[in-house]
């Protein structure tokens, strides 16, 4: 008892959703594996600085409690380093910054110069005493004005600046070993 009119669209109706589901599955799997490898950040917004010159700034050093201060730095010094460096925005009041502290300490142990910028922070010295100081220099951006030049929207944020002073990468949120392996290491190895 077959119907006289064949209906090819019926087969399509069966295959189309299956194909769609399969495609979705592949997409989701790619997304998750890229997140795991630290090369994709779902909450990350594209940074306008990528491929551009490091913005110009000159920061005073963060204060120490007993008087005195850390050594501050300027964009000129970073460009004069002629090797890839990290610029890391942090604050003592920021919880993910505590989380990423061991990762930064490991990078320091590997010989990566890290320039720290304390964002709207007055207890920087205490924070570094407690969590270790991975920074080559510690500048203080209490007004938060330099942060806006970077297009920062929260702490912690980490930028890779290459040997020519060009910003190559921005990570917002705590660094993890996966991000270091997936994104930072290849860029830092570039020319050191």
């Amino acid at each position: 008892m077959s119907l006289p009119t064949a209906q090819p669209s019926r087969r399509l109706l069966l295959i189309a959703p299956l194909a769609l589901a399969g495609l979705g599955g592949v997409a989701a799997w790619t997304l998750l594996s890229r997140m795991r490898q630290g090369i994709y950040d779902p909450r990350g917004l594209p940074s306008m600085l990528i491929g551009k010159k490091l913005p110009s700034f000159d920061l005073p050093g963060a204060a120490r409690p007993g008087g005195g201060a850390f050594q501050g730095f300027s964009s000129v010094e970073i460009r004069a380093a002629h090797r890839p460096v990290l610029v890391n925005f942090f604050a003592s009041w920021c919880i993910p910054c505590v989380e990423e502290a061991p990762v930064l300490m490991q990078l320091k142990a590997d010989g990566v110069p890290i320039y720290g910028i304390a964002y709207k922070d007055r207890r920087t010295a205490n924070f570094l005493n407690q969590n270790g100081n991975p920074y080559t220099r510690v500048g203080s951006d209490e007004p938060g004005r330099v942060a806006i030049e970077f297009g920062l929207y929260g702490v912690p944020e980490t930028y890779v600046v290459d040997a020519d002073g060009i910003v190559r990468f921005r990570w917002s949120g705590a660094l993890t070993d996966d991000v270091v392996r997936g994104s930072l290491s290849p860029l830092l190895k570039g020319r050191s």
Partner: protein, 153 residues
């Protein structure tokens, strides 16, 4: 009935009294020049607070939003045009900072989505209307007999 009218009137009066909540409650933040302040607010309302992401810079209480408000006012006071101020922000934060994204190649799909949706609907309706009815073979005599038996009480 009159009770409904009365409570409606009370609600309307309350709504009128309440007015919009203003985040820039600090008069120190405002520009002394009324016209410049109005312009600054208009610009601020077009920019997204990057911390809360669904509020404008003008409505947000976040530190970053306050900093951005100050910059907007500094720029307006210095004589920048509205477009200049917005461009300054976009240069640092990208188009994401604009609550109303510009119409360009990246946002083509976003802006044309409603047109696309209506178009698909119209096409679907037209297609289904003009689709030829599916031909079904007439019942055989045998089938007709079975049907008649089934229908009979």
């Amino acid at each position: 009935m009159s009770r409904v009218v009365l409570s409606g009137a009370i609600l309307a009066v309350l709504l009128l009294i309440a007015g919009p909540a203003l985040a820039v409650s600090d008069p120190l933040e405002m520009l002394p020049d009324r016209q410049q302040e109005v312009r600054a607010e208009a610009v601020g309302h077009q920019l997204r607070c990057l911390v809360c992401q669904n509020e404008s810079v003008e409505d947000s209480d976040a530190d970053l939003a306050r900093d951005l408000r100050r910059i907007i006012r500094d720029r307006v006071k210095a004589g920048d045009s509205d477009q200049h101020v917005i461009d300054w922000m976009v240069a640092r934060y990208g188009n994401f900072i604009r609550l109303r994204p510009p119409f360009d190649a990246h946002t083509l799909l976003l802006w044309l989505a409603p047109v696309l949706a209506v178009g698909i609907c119209v096409i679907t309706v037209l297609l289904s209307r003009y689709r030829r009815p599916v031909l079904v073979a007439p019942l055989t005599n045998e089938e007709r007999g079975r049907l008649a038996k089934l229908i009979q009480p």
